[in-house]
Symmetry: D2
């Protein structure tokens, strides 16, 4: 059997209407090519939209779920893979995809881009903006910058008060 071509679509569980429309269209185009669509499997955002796009055009859809049950599976996923591993499943997403497409998303999507490239997978960024995702967290005071080990210790001690 000729190996199937699996295209992984990464992207956020929250997405704008415009980004969902693009994901839906992308899912449809993938289905028309006869490729398999793989994504994170949930019934939200880019995942739901891209799965529906493929499903509506007769495509085969695989979802790699972070949960240990089916509660949040998109109804447009034909084959739900239930990992029960949280974000560790992001590694499976990229290892199982021949090519990874990153739609707009947050830090989960950024981790998948990094892991895909690390594993020498081709990655196509479809309007994904990595800087934006990081900036968001910057404003939450989670991201800090240091030049020396001593500064690191100082920052830890400041944060430490909130432990």
């Amino acid at each position: 059997m000729k190996k199937s071509i699996i295209i992984g679509i990464m992207g956020g569980g929250k997405a704008t209407r415009k980004d969902e429309k693009a994901a839906y269209r992308l899912g449809g185009l993938i289905a028309k090519e006869g490729w398999i669509l793989l994504n994170g499997g949930r019934n939200a955002g880019i995942m739901e939209a891209s799965a529906k796009g493929a499903f509506d055009h007769g495509g085969l859809t695989v979802g790699i779920l972070p949960d240990d049950n089916c509660d949040r599976v998109s109804e447009y996923i034909k084959i739900p893979i239930i990992t029960g591993m949280g974000n560790a499943r992001n590694c499976i997403n990229v290892l199982s995809s021949d090519i990874v497409v990153a739609c707009p998303g947050g830090l989960g999507t950024l981790s998948e881009i990094a892991l895909a490239l690390k594993n020498s997978k081709a990655v196509i960024l479809l309007n994904f903006d990595g800087e934006k995702a990081l900036e968001l967290y910057n404003t939450k005071n989670l991201l800090h910058y240091a030049k020396t080990p001593e500064q690191v210790i100082d920052i830890i001690k400041k944060i430490h008060i909130h432990f």
Copy 2:
């Protein structure tokens, strides 16, 4: 028992002499504070240097190994955790750390920063440069940019020749 404070040190398996020196010094400072140092556990780069720094100053060191055996464990790791899970262990690194410090590294380190922030962990960047890591892969022709779903399909078909 008061819970231990665990500081996760992320960073590349390959590192410059200067970055290794900083990691060694950081490991030593963490040990002096009585904190536990957690890293990726291998006998190379930032991992080896930071573990040695903590070890030489009487600290307790924990290494979360991607491998399924002990062949590449740093000798300065007192407690090697053997996951056999490759990069999926990156999730464990960040979930197990109270605070994550990112030393210079590549895409593995970038994935850990993203996963740490996603899990609302404070992250301190010690001279980590995310753009640099991504640029490197850009030049390998692994990273592509698209504005529309149709462009994504075109790019896949171009890459596809090399399947």
Copy 3:
């Protein structure tokens, strides 16, 4: 979309000719029912035989691979899921299956039976013999029996010589 029914077929990478024939027949019967066959995905033993059985009868086959690459995927697996997680993928096998069938196998299969039951999945043993798998290891001097904590320490010290 009505959720697909996924039947997980567990079993050894090494199998007798007779057991492979039964696995092939089982794969065919599953395909004829329109159910999806899920297994460990490798090109050996029960995995290869059951996948071929389903494939030859027009069935859809999903393989959850322990490896981080496609080198040992059965050619009868349409959708290879590459986990890179070794035996940790056994959990995914059982969580993703609606019903688990255990064909003859070793300790990997035994672990899957245990994990499936723990997750309240129905398990059908098709000539699987758990005692046999454990006995094999008994003769290798890996399995020891103790009645008290003190006996445990004594046994560890005896084994310890070989560390």
Copy 4:
């Protein structure tokens, strides 16, 4: 540095008073030998008892948690490793232990025994009874027996009504 000796103590989250006492004593003996105790990390049953035993005798304790947070960590665990991977962490338990001791437990413990032996780890059964664990599930009508592939299909169809 001479590698630490890590003894993995497996066993149920629910345990009899007698079995908890034995686990506590075992933890203490391990600590007195200067070995590190590794277990599943939760504040219940064999995990809590063995960690307390080691802690009360000055031992170092490592817990490999299935959860993605610290809510159920035993207070006697000095180093909690937070995996967020559910039962997939059972693989880490056995890979990280030099020797595995199985105290009385259920199917999780049985899966760890199987995975440990598969990875050629010595396993000491301290009053663990595998048959008992399986029998329990037998009575729940989860465990079924078949001699032929055709019987498997018949059983699936019977169970199937409850899908």
